[in-house]
């Protein structure tokens, strides 16, 4: 399996799209780690309103403020770069937890069968039908404000997808002779899950997880954009966009300070694009039909 992963990776690396995706993601990770050391005003990046706010409101991009300033006089560059950290943090936590939860529950449902299977599938179905934003709306009211709302509402909907995929694949594996034999031989269930089932279902799940990175990022930003997630002033692209659209009445931003919408949006788009490109190329490698050069021959 590892060898196959390497082959897929090597082949993907030949593609310019994949390379672009990797470069964008690496740059994003780099920015996320080093953000406080790169940006000129880390304090403002975290939401501090400067003393000279009145003089610094809505300045256009200049050497001092590369991306301009927002309606509370904060350096937009600092905020956007600091936002990378939040963005990646959200995405990785959400994907990791949903992935593990989905893997575990999907495998258990397929392995244990019976009532457990029915119940788990039922819950999967329910959670798949609940829109993330609706859950976020409700959680915002019960849990208050903060990044934990964004993360938990995303997990609540995403785990179900992984559980579904894991379940479908695991069902196929559970029916195989050697698993049935292992079961008959009295091998411990945990061992069977660990040795036979998980290795067989993990690859499609990982592929799915990588493909989903972009979507999760978008959804997280959407939740924060709606003011349901992190606190106001927090460095997060969705929140910055929200402030741009609704602060200053929005109109002023439209006509006088378009940089407030452009920069966070472009960052969001680029990082999502980077993730999506990686996912897209990997999927193409796993599914060879899409790979061949093709022109109509008839």
């Amino acid at each position: 399996m590892i060898r196959r992963s390497f082959i897929i990776l090597r082949r993907s690396l030949r593609k310019i799209r994949f390379k672009i995706g990797i470069v964008i993601s690496l740059v994003a990770i780099f920015l996320a780690i080093l953000a406080p050391y790169i940006v000129p005003r880390p304090q403002e990046g975290l939401g501090y309103v400067p003393r000279d706010v009145e003089a610094r409101r809505l300045l256009p991009p200049s050497i001092e403020h590369i991306f301009g300033t927002d309606s509370l006089g904060r350096d937009l560059f600092s905020r956007v770069i600091m936002g990378t950290r939040t963005a990646l943090l959200q995405v990785f936590i959400v994907i990791t937890i949903s992935f593990l939860l989905g893997l575990l529950l999907g495998a258990i449902a397929a392995y244990l069968r019976g009532l457990v299977e029915v119940l788990l599938n039922y819950f999967t179905e329910i959670f798949m039908a609940m829109p993330t934003i609706v859950i976020a709306l409700v959680l915002r009211l019960t849990l208050g404000h903060g990044i934990h709302v964004t993360i938990s509402s995303l997990i609540m909907t995403w785990w179900a997808w992984y559980a579904r995929i894991a379940y479908v694949y695991a069902r196929g594996v559970v029916e195989l002779d050697y698993v049935i034999l292992a079961r008959l031989a009295g091998l411990h269930s945990l061992k069977i899950l660990h040795r036979h089932i998980v290795p067989n279902i993990i690859q499609p799940l990982i592929a799915q997880a990588i493909t989903d990175l972009g979507s999760v990022l978008l959804e997280a930003a959407a939740i924060n954009f709606l003011g349901l997630g992190v606190q106001p002033g927090y460095p997060e692209w969705g929140v910055i966009l929200y402030e741009s659209v609704f602060y200053g009445g929005g109109v002023e931003v439209f006509t006088q300070a378009p940089w407030l919408i452009v920069f966070p949006g472009v960052f969001l788009l680029l990082v999502t694009l980077g993730f999506s490109l990686i996912g897209d190329c990997l999927r193409e490698e796993i599914d060879p039909r899409l790979r061949r050069r093709w022109r109509l021959w008839f």
């Binding site: 939401g47 501090y48 309103v49 400067p50 509370l72 106001p232 609704f246 602060y247």
Partner: protein
């Protein structure tokens, strides 16, 4: 290309259709025909029961119904409206109102003393029974006697300035007794009557009558030709139809104004005012009685220490706050009663001084750094900006502020928890207030009296304060000047203890298109958001 001809055709057809539509629209864009005024209001309407509504329904009620008297905020005097004249007894416990004679309700039924009795009793009794609505303004009213068709006598339990109360913006509207019959309600207390009103029915005496009612989209009003006041205002250009359009987002109001779809907007983004004026729109700045107050939770450490509260109060730079949060569209507050309101006191301002602030912090003995929580309303842009600014400024003092934005309903629920579970209620609560009746008692009682568990977000209990304002209230009907002095003393008490800091008194710019004319009198801060459309003239 041949193969996908159908798709091509479809795309082409769609394209052509769009072009035709655009052409059609430009053709159809004709100048408006009838005298229609579209007024953009910024919130959903919560209900239009004339006796019970105590929220956004005012904007509709104010045009459909009328009160007995009218409070003129420029002169500070009470003027006649449905009542032509009135007199009170020496002790202020008996009031007689002489009613206007030529008044009819929208359904043609005549206006008389019975209607007054019924309307006011309904507001008062439902409040007494269930606590709903703003009927508490009639709390003193013991008995309403119909002397004759056009004379009503009020007997009070304790002296009050009833002519002032009768001009209140809530619970003082007179509706027609025929509503009972039309709604099929058995009595004025029947729930069926309330439902009937809230389904979009109204029978008032006002210059406009209700045509259609959709609380989340729009309310349509039509000129009531038999209104008694048309001869008084003498305005042949008054709008025939008024649309109160719910447009929540300020940018939307701005766009609507620019596109000519909205005539009057009550809350365009403040930053766009200059732009709008340059484009030929007109503005009336109304310094409203809507003010923003920062409450301290006086029942929880560390805001139970008055030195700590004072430290925060002196750290607030009101000039900066007004500039940053509301772009200067506000007056820096002095005390908790807004400018221009009876009982307003100048000089109750904590002059921004960080040194003083640090000194008080030391006195307070609170160890830095400390974390406090600020509760504020999420759907006002100004409160959000204030919160972020406040958080930054406090961080300079070593106070970490955790922001807790909530919508209004939930903010209220959390804030009043100061009485039941003060330890889990935020330390600071930013709330806003606008009055129901033109008396300082309205502000001071609701926000600081120990009995007012619903709105006293500070959890403030001070018998001295309570007795001061109670005494002032009873004096209002007898000796108004003395009453105002007592109110001043009460406010000084609040100021010294720093129970709450008045932040700013809102100035609301009403922007309107140049095709209409609107005199300053059309807007009255006492009845915020109500526009007297009878004074508005439309030129086509």
């Amino acid at each position: 290309m041949k193969p996908l001809r159908t798709i091509y055709i479809v795309l082409l057809a769609v394209f052509i259709l769009v072009i035709i539509l655009i052409a059609l629209l430009t053709m159809l864009h004709q100048p408006p025909r009838s005298k229609i005024v579209v007024y953009a209001y910024n919130d959903d309407i919560t209900g239009i029961d004339p006796s019970l509504e105590d929220d956004t329904g005012l904007v509709v009620l104010g045009s459909i119904y009328e009160t007995l008297t009218y409070y003129n905020y420029t002169t500070g005097k009470v003027e006649p409206r449905l009542a032509l004249s009135w007199e009170s007894s020496e002790d202020g416990k008996e009031w007689i109102f002489h009613l206007r004679r030529d008044v009819v309700f929208h359904d043609g039924t005549p206006f008389n003393a019975t209607a007054v009795k019924m309307s006011i009793e309904r507001a008062r009794d439902i409040y007494r029974e269930t606590g709903r609505g703003a009927g508490y303004i009639w709390d003193a009213v013991d008995e309403i006697i119909v002397v004759d068709e056009y004379t009503v006598k009020f007997k009070l339990k304790y002296p009050q300035k009833l002519d002032l109360l009768a001009s209140a913006s809530y619970a003082a509207y007179i509706f027609s007794p025929s509503a009972l019959e039309k709604s099929g309600a058995s009595s004025i207390y029947d729930k069926a009557l309330e439902d009937w009103f809230n389904k979009g029915n109204a029978i008032g005496t006002g210059p406009y009558k209700l045509i259609s009612y959709d609380p989340t989209r729009e309310i349509r009003l039509e000129k009531f030709n038999k209104w008694w006041g048309w001869s008084v205002v003498n305005n042949p250009y008054a709008p025939d139809v008024v649309i109160i359009k719910i447009v929540k987002e300020p940018p939307a109001q701005y766009h609507g104004l620019l596109a000519g779809e909205i005539d009057i907007a009550c809350s365009v983004p403040r930053t766009t005012i200059r732009d709008l004026v340059e484009k030929g729109f007109k503005v009336i700045n109304v310094s409203t009685f809507h003010n923003f107050v920062l409450f301290f939770n006086t029942k929880r450490y560390p805001t139970n220490i008055s030195y700590f509260r004072l430290a925060i109060a002196y750290a607030l730079n009101l000039t900066e706050i007004v500039q940053v949060a509301v772009y200067g569209f506000a007056l820096e507050a002095s005390g908790v009663i807004p400018h221009g309101f009876p009982g307003h006191v100048e000089g109750l301002k904590y002059n921004h001084n960080l040194e003083t602030s640090k000194k008080y912090l030391e006195f307070s003995g609170v160890k830095m750094p400390i974390k406090i929580e600020l509760l504020y309303q999420v759907d006002y842009e100004e409160t959000r900006k204030f919160a972020e600014l406040f958080k930054s400024r406090m961080s300079e003092l070593g106070i970490e502020v955790e922001l807790n934005p909530q919508d209004w309903a939930r903010l209220k629920d959390i804030a009043k928890g100061v009485w039941t579970s003060p330890e889990s209620t935020p330390h600071l609560i930013l709330a806003d207030w606008w009055p129901t009746m033109p008396s300082p008692f309205d502000y001071l009682y609701a926000m600081f009296h120990s009995e007012s568990k619903e709105w006293n977000f500070a959890g403030y209990e001070n018998p001295e304060f309570d007795s001061l304002i109670e005494e002032a209230l009873t004096l209002e009907g007898v000796n108004y000047t003395r009453a105002l002095e007592l109110y001043k003393d009460a406010q000084i008490l609040l100021f010294e203890e720093a129970v709450a800091v008045g932040l700013w008194d809102e100035i609301r710019p009403f922007t309107y298109s140049s095709r209409i004319e609107m005199p300053q009198e059309a807007l009255n801060p006492m009845y915020t958001f109500v526009i007297r459309f009878e004074l508005v003239s439309v030129r086509s």
